[in-house]
């Protein structure tokens, strides 16, 4: 580790500082050796050298002048585990082995994943076309037929051509002399006969002095004279015998009339049957001829052959639709004949090619649905307004992403999917049923009363790849049992990769790919180096690189903008720096306001001098994507008492559970370290001064312990140092998060007040590997204006803070006199004796509780 060399150098540096008079005026109090055999040797670690604070990239090491020399990256960087999972998921031919791609940047990964999946799909069999056709037995249940790739559209065109031909051929056949002659013969046989019989009856009636008249609903007979109906009053004047004779005649004629009319329906029926038979005979010849070409071309597809039989039967039965032309008016208006596909009479013979593959294309489809609404996913049945009502037919079936990707792979952003009403449930239903059933979501709610369809479901053979972050994955896994049942493969993409030489080179190619994708200016080597360094800063780890492609892309594109503003043809390191700075500046209004409160003394934080029981802690504020650190004053007060530590944050309900845990650990440390053989008769209080929001996390637990030790020992703490790190009961300092932001936050406060060279931050030693500090911080350290100390134990930290060794127990079990620990122990013993003397039944140190121990 770094501490071997660092210690020595640090001591030398401290000595140099002493010589230069840079140490604070209240010089550290030296610990005197104990009277026994205890050691007074200090364990103060050295401050980190500048090169440990930021891992820079030497532009020359990249071996390029600009990104134009690099081959753009097309795949993914260092994601072997995820790639193996993807390959496995695609290879598993089962409806429940769908894939969830976990990663922080779904959109960034999706392009690369898609490229990879397209590679895998290229070796797969291309799926066929799917068409919807009319179901002549039940028009509401449109038939779904599968054809070889590319045949759907061809069949669609062939059917239009056949109907077009029939539109010309059928009228011609029915206008033909042959048909007309036979039709007239039938009419003559049946149609004219009734009329003639009635006319004959009328003539006969006339001869008998009776008029045959038509009424709106039939016929009637009445006495007639000289061609006119005799008025009733005139008829009444006729002798009764003559009246009786006329009445008898009329009654007889009525019987004849009834006989004639009763026979009309039978004759008419026969006429219709004969005419229908003639029509079918004529139509069959024409229809068969029109469909011959279609049968010849598509008859080898079994489903088509059977469908064409149904079409033929229907065409023959409805051939007269081709003769009547209700659309003529519209044709006259537009001057153009209505296309067969739009003519309501012929829609039933059309074909809806919902899925049509390019016959030249190889492999299975890989389709990405960027707007996964229910309709876009499952497909929809559209409606058109007709006479004030919404109507539909199978031609209004619109395919969804599942149709388009059927037989291949479908990529969906999981978050968008979940935010689309009904879409997630519909997708699961389709996957479980292995079929796409067109169902409108409102149908299931019973909200639809208009005419709709229930088309045949299409068998589904698909691999669904969802993209989402980990939080979403775990949420689904926990909350939706069907999720894990259907998405058994997780392709977990790391958000960072190791910063190896190989990956650094690949990273440069990623930058080149971004340049190519957005047609940007090439980046010079220094610019690429800065982007790589920023990748490490985003990863918050000097040995890692972030692969959040979209954020990297943002920096490169913004740098390009600044290069254009500067009139450069190349994007330089300065442009990348500016892009980063501008990004920060756009987001750091709150940080500015925060810094101002320190500068104006509104928030009290000392950066010079020494004080007992007071220390600077560090915290991180996250505002959207921007995070920054800020110091907070932490104070500790101690007194003789009943073994109770008051965590004021918790008492005020501002402290979270992790923070409280950290405070309780302090109690354990104190008891174990200093109160093995006497009660811990201590009352202490800890507080984050001027903190009005919640405090969470245990990253300040070591800081609080330092404050407590200072208060107990009466040894002042250097206020120019801020501290972060958690501590365990053994006094070991543990890693925390946000180390860079915290250091930079304190640095900014010190810088605003003027760097003295005696300021710095104590961080856990295990956090050194995460250091990727801003260049201005590194520069200040390089000039000895600021320091960063790594510590592994409380003993190391307290020595840096006080200038006095913590102390190690000698063979006699005692700490060296005047060491920090000796003073602490003495104070605690004093408290214990007082407690004993007071005979007070104080509760002793033990497991913390609300009223006893730490709380």
């Amino acid at each position: 580790m770094i501490f071997g060399l660092g210690k020595k150098r640090g001591k030398e540096k401290e000595k140099e500082k002493d010589k230069d008079g840079k140490l604070e005026s209240d010089a550290p109090i030296e610990a005197k050796p104990s009277s026994g055999k205890s050691q007074a040797v200090g364990v103060r670690p050295a401050a980190l050298s500048a090169d440990k604070l930021r891992r820079v990239v030497d532009p020359a090491s990249l071996g390029i002048k600009t990104t134009a020399e690099l081959e753009p990256l097309t795949g993914l960087i260092g994601q072997d585990r995820a790639l193996r999972a993807l390959s496995f998921g695609v290879g598993m031919k089962s409806n429940d082995y769908n894939i969830f791609v976990l990663g922080p940047d779904a959109s960034g990964n999706s392009a690369a994943v898609r490229t990879m999946l397209e590679g895998l799909a290229a070796g797969q069999q291309p799926p066929g076309d799917w068409i919807y056709v009319n179901n002549f037995d039940d028009p509401n249940k449109a038939r779904a037929l599968r054809l070889r790739p590319g045949r759907g559209r061809e069949f669609e065109r062939a059917m239009v051509a056949a109907v077009d031909e029939l539109r010309a051929a059928l009228p011609a056949a029915f206008e033909g002399e042959d048909y007309q002659a036979r039709s007239r013969a039938i009419d003559a046989l049946y149609g004219g006969r009734t009329e003639e019989l009635i006319q004959e009856l009328g003539q006969k009636a006339e001869e008998h002095g009776v008029a045959l008249l038509r009424t709106p609903l039939g016929f009637t007979l009445a006495p007639m004279l000289e061609g006119k109906v005799v008025k009733p009053e005139a008829f009444a004047a006729v002798p009764p015998s003559m009246q009786a004779e006329v009445r008898a005649t009329i009654e007889a004629l009525q019987k004849e009339l009834k006989a004639i009319l009763t026979d009309v329906p039978r004759a008419d029926k026969e006429r219709r049957q004969n005419l229908r038979a003639l029509n079918e005979e004529v139509a069959a010849t024409v229809v068969k001829a029109a469909l011959d070409d279609v049968v010849a071309e598509f008859g080898d597809e079994d489903v088509i052959a059977s469908y064409l039989h149904a079409v033929e039967d229907d065409l023959i039965a409805n051939a007269l639709h081709f003769l009547a032309d209700p659309s003529r008016e519209q044709e006259e208006f537009s001057g153009q004949p209505i296309e067969s596909a739009r003519d309501p009479r012929f829609r039933r013979y059309m074909v809806n090619a919902v899925v049509s593959q390019n016959p030249e294309a190889q492999g299975a489809p890989v389709f990405e649905e960027t707007n996964p609404t229910h309709g876009n996913l499952i497909g929809r049945v559209e409606h058109i307004a007709h006479m004030g009502a919404l109507v539909t037919d199978f031609l209004l079936i619109k395919p969804g992403a599942l149709h388009k990707a059927n037989g291949g792979t479908l990529l969906i952003d999981a978050r968008k999917l979940l935010f689309s009403p009904f879409a997630w449930e519909a997708l699961k239903r389709a996957l479980k049923a292995k079929s796409i059933r067109l169902e409108q979501p409102v149908e299931s709610l019973g909200l639809v009363s208009t005419q709709t369809l229930d088309p045949e479901p299409i068998p589904l053979d698909i691999k669904v790849v969802l993209f989402g972050d980990r939080e979403l994955y775990y949420l689904l896994a926990e909350g939706d049992p069907e999720f894990q049942e259907l998405f058994k493969v997780q392709a977990d993409f790391d958000d960072t990769i190791a910063r190896t030489a190989e990956h650094t080179e690949t990273y440069a190619r990623l930058v080149a790919a971004i340049v190519g994708e957005y047609a940007l200016r090439p980046l010079d080597a220094e610019a690429v180096a800065r982007v790589i360094e920023e990748g490490s800063r985003m990863a918050r780890d000097r040995d890692k690189l972030s692969i959040e492609v979209s954020r990297i892309g943002d920096i490169v594109r913004e740098a390009d903008y600044w290069a254009s503003q500067a009139g450069r043809s190349l994007t330089t390191g300065a442009d990348v720096r500016r892009a980063i700075d501008e990004q920060v500046q756009r987001a750091d209004r709150m940080r500015d306001r925060d810094q101002e409160t320190f500068k104006r003394g509104i928030v009290l934080v000392d950066t010079e001098g020494r004080k007992v029981g007071q220390i600077n802690g560090l915290s991180v504020l996250q505002l959207g994507t921007f995070a920054f650190g800020r110091p907070s004053r932490i104070t500790a007060r101690v007194r003789f008492g009943g073994g109770r530590m008051v965590d004021i944050e918790r008492e005020a309900k501002l402290g979270g559970p992790l923070h409280s845990k950290g405070v309780m650990i302090l109690w354990g440390y104190l008891a174990g370290m200093f109160a093995q053989d006497h009660p811990l008769a201590l009352s202490a209080s800890l507080v984050f001064e001027q903190s009005y929001g919640g405090v969470e996390g245990d990253s300040a637990s070591s800081t609080e312990l330092y404050a407590l030790l200072s208060a107990l020992s009466d040894v002042p703490i250097r206020q120019g140092i801020a501290v972060t790190g958690s501590v365990n009961q053994l006094g070991e300092v543990q890693a925390i998060g946000g180390v860079n932001e915290k250091i930079e936050g304190f640095f900014d406060v010190c810088k605003a007040r003027g760097l003295t060279g005696r300021q710095g931050v104590i961080v856990p030693g295990s956090n050194v590997q995460h250091l990727m500090l801003r260049e201005d911080v590194v520069a200040a350290v390089r000039k000895d204006r600021f320091s960063v100390w790594p510590v592994t134990t409380i003993a190391e930290g307290i020595e840096i803070l006080t200038g006095i060794p913590a102390g190690v127990r000698g063979e006699d079990g005692a700490f060296p006199a005047d060491s920090v620990y000796a003073r602490v122990e003495a104070k605690l013993k004093l408290f214990a004796e007082r407690a004993k003397a007071a005979g007070n039944a104080m509760r002793l140190a033990g497991p913390p509780g609300r009223d006893g121990g730490a709380s």
Binding site: R184, Q199, R214, T220, P232, E251
Partner: protein, 289 residues
């Protein structure tokens, strides 16, 4: 003709569509009326005649109405007949309005209780001499007498349009039956208006009909001479009829005419027997005196 009236701005003529209270009107009759109204920028009067004789019938206790299906018969009351007539009038008016709207022709309906022929004469007299009568119901094989009666009784009509039972079209070439040179010019003008109505481009065919070849040759020469100042129609010659109207009727059918303009009482439309036309004619027949 009423075309002349429209052109010179004299009192407007009308298309009087006679709707009988008995036989239901044929759809082609509505189409024909509307097309003529469109061609002559005229209007349609739907004249619904409630036959007085029918109302007289209700005074007979023994008079029965036999329904068209022959299975129902009932005695007639004045109230029942009036309800039936009212319903029939409304239905016919509605049909007429729909067709007239399609041809952008103005239409209105009147309902009179009269003897049919008198009612027609009175209606035509109301608007001056420039009327064309369209008979709603199809003519029967013996309908010639009825046509003759109308032409004889209604003086204020320049033409009469009737349709056969097989009528089914009003679009297609307008065929002018040329049996003699007289009235050829006015018949041709009528044909021109019909052919170009509503922006249509239906052609005009002059069909020469006669009993022998010499007469036909002479007739063609005369016709060409008379029509030499206007657009020349296509001349066709009907096969020698030898006094048989069925030959002419079949020739007309084969031409798929949209309208036939002919003189009543000639070879094409004999005054007594309309049987050949009834079995063959698929378009309205525009008869001139």
């Amino acid at each position: 003709m009423i075309g002349h009236v429209a052109s010179v701005g004299e009192a407007r003529g009308r298309v009087v569509l006679r709707l009988s209270c008995g036989a239901p009107p044929h759809e082609a009759a509505f189409e024909a009326a509307a097309r003529i109204a469109q061609a002559f920028e005229s209007e349609i009067e739907g004249l619904f005649v409630e036959d007085l004789q029918l109302l007289d019938l209700t005074g007979y206790a023994f008079a029965r109405e036999v329904a068209f299906n022959g299975r129902v018969s009932r005695s007639l009351s004045i109230a029942d007949v009036e309800v039936e007539l009212h319903a029939a009038f409304r239905a016919m008016r509605r049909r007429m309005e729909v067709v007239a709207k399609r041809y952008q022709a103005r239409s209105y309906a009147t309902r009179v209780r009269d003897e049919p022929l008198s009612a027609l004469a009175r209606a035509c007299a109301r608007a001056g001499p420039w009327n064309v009568i369209v008979i709603g119901e199809p003519f029967s094989s013996r309908g010639g007498a009825a046509i003759a009666d109308i032409l004889a009784s209604v003086r204020d009509a320049t033409g009469l349009v009737t349709i056969g039972p097989r009528s089914r079209r009003t679009r297609g070439p307008v065929v002018v039956m040329v049996e003699e040179p007289e009235r050829l010019l006015s018949m041709m003008r009528t044909a021109e208006r019909l052919a170009t109505a509503g922006g249509g481009r239906d052609g005009i065919i002059a069909m020469l009909a006669g009993d022998d070849a010499d007469y036909l040759a002479w007739l063609e020469g005369q016709a060409r001479l008379i029509l030499s100042h206007g657009p020349e129609p296509r001349f066709v010659t009907a096969p020698p009829a030898r006094g048989e109207p069925a030959v002419i009727a079949e020739a007309l059918r084969q031409l798929k005419a949209g309208f036939v303009v002919a003189r009543f009482g000639g070879l094409t439309v004999p005054p007594d027997d309309l049987r050949p036309l009834a079995s063959a004619l698929e378009s309205p027949l525009f008869l001139v005196r």
